[in-house]
Point group: C2
Chain length 348, copies 2
DNA sequence: CCAGCTGCCGGAAACGTTTACAGAAACCGG
DNA sequence: CCGGTTTCTGTAAACGTTTCCGGCAGCTGG
């Protein structure tokens, strides 16, 4: 039966009538506050018979919290963010919050809209993972109408909690590893240079090369989008000239690395014998292809968990007291070595 | 500045005071209803100065709708559901709804909880993609407190809109294709047999084999979980005996197929020369590995879009009128042929 | 039997909107 | 200048909760 046709959902008032008590008593019973034996029974019976479910909207209006949190990420299809979602979800769920997911598709205006929408009280707090930080972002973060945690790197003077990855160190780690396994012509397939991740990876790559005494060679560096097909195209560009062919390719994420691997395979080049490949993020994708990819784990899960914990703590302690100083934590990168960078007999 | 410290967010009342008009006028101006020139200006100025953002909770309480929809899926990491999310998102966003994503992790109790939580009026409607349908599901669907669309196969007598894939036909399609490319010993790696997708794929596999005049051989069928590692393990089991080695493996999804491919590679078997591999879902993963996977597209995007459209239509026409008959649409499967099932010189 | 206490209860206000209604102001034609 | 129409405005109710507060009933101790 499609629920009491005329009159809509049962409310606290319907229950009060049926149980012949006041709505105040109904509310108290339903919230487990004190009441006489008899009252409790009557109310509970009426509630059960009517199939009552409390109206969360009304409750939110009353006590000013929705028990909903928002996570805004650039791309729901990217395993990195999926890992974050999982981590965030498990923390917030345990604390009794629902999670509202928002995919911004890396559109700046969309990110700003999310930030401003905090004011509409649809959720109690926000975790946002912006792909780039504009002045408008900074301004929006300063004036945010509720607690925000940023996953990513912020200018120091923005008073907002943040959780960052150390992709500079991570990229350097990968380069050093490739160098140690005997590679000398190391190519780099990076994402867009005007994003925070893109810039950091570039810096890390340069650092790593310098540390190993290798020179940064423009012709071995390609900037493109993050995506499998982009990786394949980038590899085609790097492989045009057989003489100057790299003996290793470091990629700014696993999807690019898979694309590179595909291009190598289709040219009959072997991984890792002819060319080593390393990716970044250590997402599920790293183990999807063949050979399994060496990848740098930037701690997506850890960052997600941390962000959620920071946000929850803000929520707990926001009793009108002056906001305490913003905190920043950094997840250390970790190199996960797999077959795609095994040293070859010749090189090792 | 962290927003007017004492007094919280500005409301319609703050604006009314500042503009020296009544709250009714404020509301009217803000909603673009008629007002005198002078009033409009004063209200708009006050609103801008205070940085007013309407409280969505209060608005929802008033007019009984939240402009939020929920999509509950089994696994946020599965590209199939990601595709659905994208499709749903684009439809609902255009219609002015936010999308609340819920990952049930294929836990039945969680699915039921979502269904019941429709009653709390947190969202105006629900799209749910259950991994199995129990009697409790059916009961919960019957008594749902708001419009629901199911992505998946339902018993006929459940009065709920649904969108289904034809995985039976899809699986048969793949088997016929493998047969046409010359394969005769076709193995099958399926997911859990007690789920709806698992049962349907099994049925389709049997149908396809029968149509091709091949016998269903228990020793060539493995049931396991949906997942890359599961696929690899399943392949190990199928490959123990060299003499009875299959010349093709059909997998119930792309992740299983990638696992199978990994196991084949690590044993030095070539795809497709020694063993052909086909997957299902045609997710991004199909193009992640090497060689690119032949896969059956079950129309995730199309199903997502359809589900969203059905839901929106229900919302539009739910003006107290008697509910109209439930509708069901089926997305036809489509075979996407790639290198992993190319006919070999010998066979073709 | 009464004063005082405790335990429950119901009335009513509040959260921030939208909107029905009625009254005030402005305008128009005569 | 007035009756009538139109436009605009303010008051108040409503949405479904939670919670403060005053009061009533039932005890207990004198």
């Amino acid at each position: 039966m499609p629920r009491t046709p005329s009159g809509g959902q049962p409310t606290i008032v319907s229950i009060a009538e049926r149980a012949e008590v006041s709505i105040a008593s109904v509310s108290r019973v339903l919230n487990g506050l004190g009441a006489r034996r008899d009252t409790v029974e009557r109310v509970e019976r009426a509630a059960a018979e009517l199939g009552y479910v409390p109206n969360a909207v009304a409750r939110s209006l009353k006590d000013g919290r929705t028990r909903q949190l928002t996570f805004a990420m650039p791309d729901i299809g990217n395993p990195v963010y999926v890992a974050m979602v999982r981590a965030i979800q498990s923390v917030t769920k345990a604390a009794g919050y629902r999670l509202l997911l928002h995919s911004t598709d890396a559109v700046v205006d969309d990110e700003l809209a999310v930030l401003h929408s905090l004011g509409d009280r649809t959720s109690d707090g926000l975790i946002i993972c912006p792909i780039r930080i504009t002045d408008e972002h900074v301004e929006a973060l300063r004036t945010a109408a509720g607690p925000v945690v940023v996953i990513g790197s912020l200018p120091d003077d923005v008073p907002v909690d943040s959780v960052r990855a150390d992709s500079v160190a991570g990229a350097a780690l990968a380069v050093r590893h490739l160098h140690e396994t005997g590679r000398r012509r190391i190519a780099f397939v990076n994402g867009p240079p005007d994003t925070v991740p893109g810039r950091n990876r570039d810096e890390g790559f340069r650092t790593g090369m310098a540390e190993c005494g290798l020179v940064y060679d423009d012709s071995l560096v390609v900037h493109t989008d993050f995506g499998i097909d982009s990786g394949a195209e980038a590899a085609e560009r790097l492989l045009t000239d057989d003489a100057s062919r790299p003996d290793a390719v470091f990629c700014a994420n696993d999807q690019l690395a898979l694309g590179v691997a595909r291009a190598l395979h289709s040219r009959g080049l072997r991984i890792p014998e002819d060319v080593a490949v390393a990716g970044m993020d250590d997402s599920l994708l790293a183990q999807a292809g063949w050979p399994p990819l060496t990848s740098v784990d930037l701690g997506s899960t850890e960052r997600g968990r941390h962000a959620a914990e920071l946000l929850l703590e803000r929520l707990r302690t926001s009793d009108g007291t002056r906001p305490s100083a913003p905190r920043t934590t950094t997840a250390p990168p970790r190199l996960v070595v797999r077959a795609s960078t095994a040293p070859t007999a010749v090189n090792s």
